[in-house]
Amino acid sequence: MLFPTLEFGIFFLVVFAIAWELKDSPEGRKTFLVAASYVFYGYWDWRFAGLLAASSLINYAAGRLVTIASSDRDKRMLVALAVAINLSILAFFKYYGFFLEQLAELLAQGGMVRDLPFLEVILPIGISFFTFQGISYVVDVYREEIPAERNPLNVFLYISFFPQLVAGPIVRAADFLPQLKAEPRLDRQMVAMGIALILLGLFKKMVIANYLATLLVDDVFFSPDAYSGPDLLLAVYGYAIQIYCDFSGYSDIAIGVAALLGYHFKANFLQPYRSASLREFWRRWHISLSTWLRDYLYKPLGGSRHGTATTYRNIMITMLLGGLWHGANWTFLIWGAIHGVALVVERMVLAVVPASGSGVVAGDSFGGAVKAGWGGGAGRDAFARSLGVLITFNVVCLAWIFFRSESLDYALLYLEGLTNWSGPVEMATPFLVALVAVSLASHFLPEDLLPNAVRWLENRSALTLGAVLGFGILLIWAIAPEGVAPFIYFQF
């Protein structure tokens, strides 16, 4: 069931009404929301609902066992086992075919042709997201950040809650489970925020992402050798916007839908293309994944605590695995490698160039908490920041070429085509150029624009809110291209 469909609209209307009717019966409300989430998930394929239930049960049991275990050694063993089971499930569905293909190729190169047990494995939708949430729960219990849940319903709802089930954001157990124990509340601010985010998410996905996909990106990436350099450049910028609008649009709708049901999710994107460094980019892009990787992979590897070389190694491992998380393909691995190398190089440069104090990078991200910036004195801050934005955006776009391409060959063809500026420019219509330019420019709008819109909506009557939502969706529907394309991150 896709968000921008009538089916989901009816589904959500029913869930909203019943969930709030059950407000005074917490167990009933949770049971109902779990059931609704399974209906939502089963709408794609009922067979995988069993997998979702099994994953929830394994993590619930692991949490209980970790609490019961007496020695730290036993607790560690249990956590390791739970993480291994979670990752094995993920590996089987996501990487089995890929690794077997690589093995077969390797054996063939060595002159050993073998019949390998290839299987037609269908990837269950959202598996990467709910697996990471399950791991987050067990590890947080082990770290004593949250108590192990006695009530399995809480774990089942945490892992299967439908707004974030299939494409995130990856909600932390420590953020969500306490909300299940508090009385569900819905105030005017949450209603306004829900409506504003749903409209914003629908606009990003249905209008911007879908136009860019259908009129520009899909065609150009399908046969990059048929287009000239300017078209290829426009298409990769277009893809940068498309994937942002597609994914952040989904996150916005998920956060908005959760808000209307009385739950708070953290922001997943914060105008990422305004970043002036890679480290800043990763604090603004897919925040739930980058913080997950930081807390459950980068820091356990040692983070930046054991010297420069170890820090660089940890950054590279984190980014490569982050790439591999997206899918079993060399293109994703190279995408991760580009980000890893860029983060390392950036860190090296910033170690030499004195920090400007311009706030370009501040805070804890991959590579540790180092306040730093491109460039030197205060007078050059604006120029340094602009240069940083330009470099960062183009490095990110370079990585997107690999991320979007069908294979390495296609990506290399694309890069080759970018150097050829002699052919005709076919795709740069005023509509597409304006779409890309305006969407990019929107990253530099004031960050409090949405909170201000929410504040304005907060004090409106039900009639006004209904009209804003109804006519807003109608307008989006009218200006969007026909058809509903699936969200890009569903495949991950």
Binding site: L13, W20, K23, G28, A467, F471, L474, W477, P481
Partner: protein, 159 residues
């Protein structure tokens, strides 16, 4: 909707809440529970929060707006579901509703916005230049005065 939810809650949950509450009240260590006002069931004191009502009414109004102005969406959904018995029975109803909305002119709003979007989508740089007075408008020359490219009928086959 509301009566169904009430009945559902009464049947499956409310009867459980009351005995649990009573058992908790019997416990010596339990804090004293406030006595609910006469006529209110336990846990129903704040049942009619304005925000919830506002949100529900807003969602229903939005659904109404879409049903009137985007009735073709209902038809296409019913067609998608036509394999099921429910879908088959929905389709004639959705089509009748869509026909009625067309008759009263409710569909014109979406059609004119789509026409505008198509104008923008197919505009060339020469059209943009003409718009800003930097040349003749080649599109305007090919159509009657005052009429946009696709404002009267949607050329679905071109989309």
């Amino acid at each position: 909707m509301s009566s169904f939810a009430h009945a559902f809650r009464r049947k499956f949950f409310h009867e459980r809440v009351v005995p649990e509450a009573a058992a908790s009240a019997r416990s010596k260590s339990a804090p004293p529970r406030p006595i609910p006002p006469v006529g209110h069931r336990i846990g129903e004191a704040e049942d009619r929060s304005p925000a919830r009502r506002i949100a529900l009414v807003a969602l229903l109004i939005a659904a109404g707006v879409l049903a009137v102005f985007n009735s073709e969406g209902m038809v296409s959904t019913a067609r998608d579901l036509a394999e099921s018995r429910v879908g088959r029975s929905m389709l004639p109803v959705a089509e009748r509703w869509d026909g009625a909305m067309e008759q009263i002119g409710a569909k014109r709003l979406v059609a004119s916005v789509r026409g505008l979007m198509l104008d923008m989508q197919y505009a060339r740089w020469a059209d943009v230049a003409a718009l800003f007075g930097a040349g003749n408008d080649p599109m305007a020359a090919e159509r009657p005065e005052g009429e946009a490219l696709y404002s009267r009928a949607l050329p679905e086959e071109e989309r």
